[in-house]
Amino acid sequence: MTATPAIEGWFTTGAEPALLGSRCTACTSTYFPPTAQQGSFCRNPACDGEEFETVELSRRGRIWSYTDAQYQPPAPYIAPHAEGEAYEPFALVAVELAEGIVVLGQAAAGYGVGDLKVGAEAEVVVETLYADEAGERSIWRWRPLNSGLVTELGQEVDQ
């Protein structure tokens, strides 16, 4: 069964998934989570833009910081494990993108804080977050690339 996004319109799925942001058509400030559907206002105080276009955000960025959840978070968090199974801690990563925005996400499955470093590169992936009556629900996550520091941030948004 194909997983459906846990939240609509925040990321694309497929071979090269990407987060979806809202770019102000006036000042180009690009927001995540996307704001366009909610009839929003540009938060730049020097801009009164109210129109946004949906854009894919850079798929890679630089790790701003990271941690993990050693204890199961309270509701409305939904644990992915079945009842009776043990809770598995997961890592959380904040990644700075070329758009000048830091986006939080869980780390990709199998990665812990030992695999992360402030300033190292990470890439967005889409994985299963939990399952409900409608099937599996997917979410964006950050996978560390361990390929050293990002040296040419900005290339992707320039395209």
Binding site: I7, C27, T30, A46, T67, P74, I78, V102, G105, I139
Partner: protein, 397 residues
């Protein structure tokens, strides 16, 4: 002295803890203690401001009136403030405005709370447009996880260690030992912290503050009124900073899933937390070098180190150097959290910023007993809460 100073006529608290009582009883206890300290009868108070508590039903939403009724309706004008962790400071600012405008003589500011056990979680219900709900549903991002992000940056960028964070707890535990209002009054060792469970790496359980019941109150008046009361050299509120962030806020803040974007407009000169302190210094006409004592919001041990730098008490990345040298301990160059801080209190949200002001008032009066910072003349508080709220109160004598 700036021309917008007001006087702190009295301060009072209800001890922090888990007492199982109603928030009103804590608030009235603190209010009566502050009134007694001021020598001003409740019937002479003509403005009351309550710090709203969001976990105590309608009485908490209209806290100012709730406290006024409990103390006995006296005809005072009333307000209730809510600014997350900065609630108490915003309430002080509200009272200060009315005093400085000449619209009231004496204001009583009260904050009180009861808090649940464990992680603070959002209210029930499905709210897909609320970041405070989404951060749990989509990420499992708790408050300590945000504190841990800041702590990790100190480690990876400035070489801080988990032992440094533990040393903050050890220091604050020692400070709070003799504080009658502190909830935890017990020495803690670095080993105690390091062997407590990791909650969110790199933070251990003992690095993270608890939630507590508690109440604090402050009686404020104009300098003229203080003089008429015979208060010749009262502790003065010299600044109350409640600034909001300046776009783009580039630091990941609770409960957000992202920061503002900086690509189109560039990064601002100061971070939000730096701007909170800067505004207080500018308003008071006092510089960071003049500060003798600070009460900062140590929601985590590592956050205390961030605040020391945010308040310009040292350069960025140097807080660990101060800590290791004992500069931030009692007897050091710039003691931080002589009350014991949140490490010894646990957080009682609408009361906490007021508790900071109570502590600094006792410090500047020389009434802090075993935790006295000798010769303290200038003190500063700092905190930050959800949704662009933060505050810094600068007191001087």
């Amino acid at each position: 002295m700036s021309n917008h100073d007001i006087a702190v006529a009295g301060v009072g608290m209800h001890p922090w803890g888990k007492w199982g009582k109603n928030f009103v009883s804590y608030g009235v206890h603190a209010a009566r203690a502050a009134l007694a300290d001021s020598g001003i009868p409740w019937t002479d108070v003509d403005y009351i401001v309550g710090g709203e508590t969001v976990r105590n039903g309608y009485g908490g939403y209209v806290a100012g009136a709730t406290f006024a009724q409990a103390l006995g309706w006296n005809g005072a004008r009333v307000a209730t403030s809510y600014a997350a962790c900065a609630t108490g400071a915003q309430a002080i600012d509200t009272a200060r405005s009315r005093i400085l405008a000449g619209l009231c003589d004496v204001a009583l500011v009260v904050g009180a709370d009861t808090t649940p056990k464990g992680f603070l979680a959002p209210n029930a219900g499905e709210r897909w447009d609320d970041p405070d709900w989404l951060r749990f549903r989509l990420l499992g991002m708790t408050n300590p996880a945000y504190f841990a992000l800041y702590a990790r940056r100190r480690m990876d960028l400035y070489g801080a260690t988990q032992e440094d964070f533990a040393a903050v707890k050890v220091k604050n535990a020692k400070h709070g030992l003799s504080n009658p209002n502190a909830r935890y009054r017990k020495e803690v060792s670095v080993e105690d912290v390091m062997t407590s469970a990791v909650v969110s790496d790199p933070l251990h359980l003992l690095d993270i503050c608890a939630t507590s019941d508690g109440a604090a109150a402050v009686v404020l008046c104009s300098l003229d009124y203080a003089r008429r009361m015979g208060l010749e050299k009262p502790v003065r509120v010299s600044a109350v900073s409640t600034v909001t962030p300046t776009f783009p806020n580039t630091v990941m803040d609770m409960p957000n899933l992202s920061t503002d974007p900086s690509a189109a407009v560039g990064t601002p000169e100061l971070t939000f937390k730096e701007s909170i302190g800067r505004a207080a210094y500018e308003e008071a006409g006092i510089s960071p070098e003049d500060v003798d004592v600070a009460e900062v919001y140590d929601l985590s041990t590592a956050l205390e180190l961030d605040w020391i730098e945010d308040l310009a008490l040292c350069k960025r990345g140097e807080a660990e150097t101060l800590l290791r040298a004992g500069d931030t301990a009692l007897g050091g160059r710039i003691p931080v959290n002589p009350s014991g801080g949140l490490a010894c209190f646990g957080e009682a949200v609408p009361a906490q910023a007021l508790a900071q002001v109570c502590e600094l008032t006792w410090q500047l009066r020389g009434q802090a007993g075993d935790r006295q910072v000798e010769g303290a003349k200038v003190g500063i508080t700092a905190n930050q809460g959800l949704f662009g709220h933060g505050s810094s109160v600068l007191l001087s004598v």
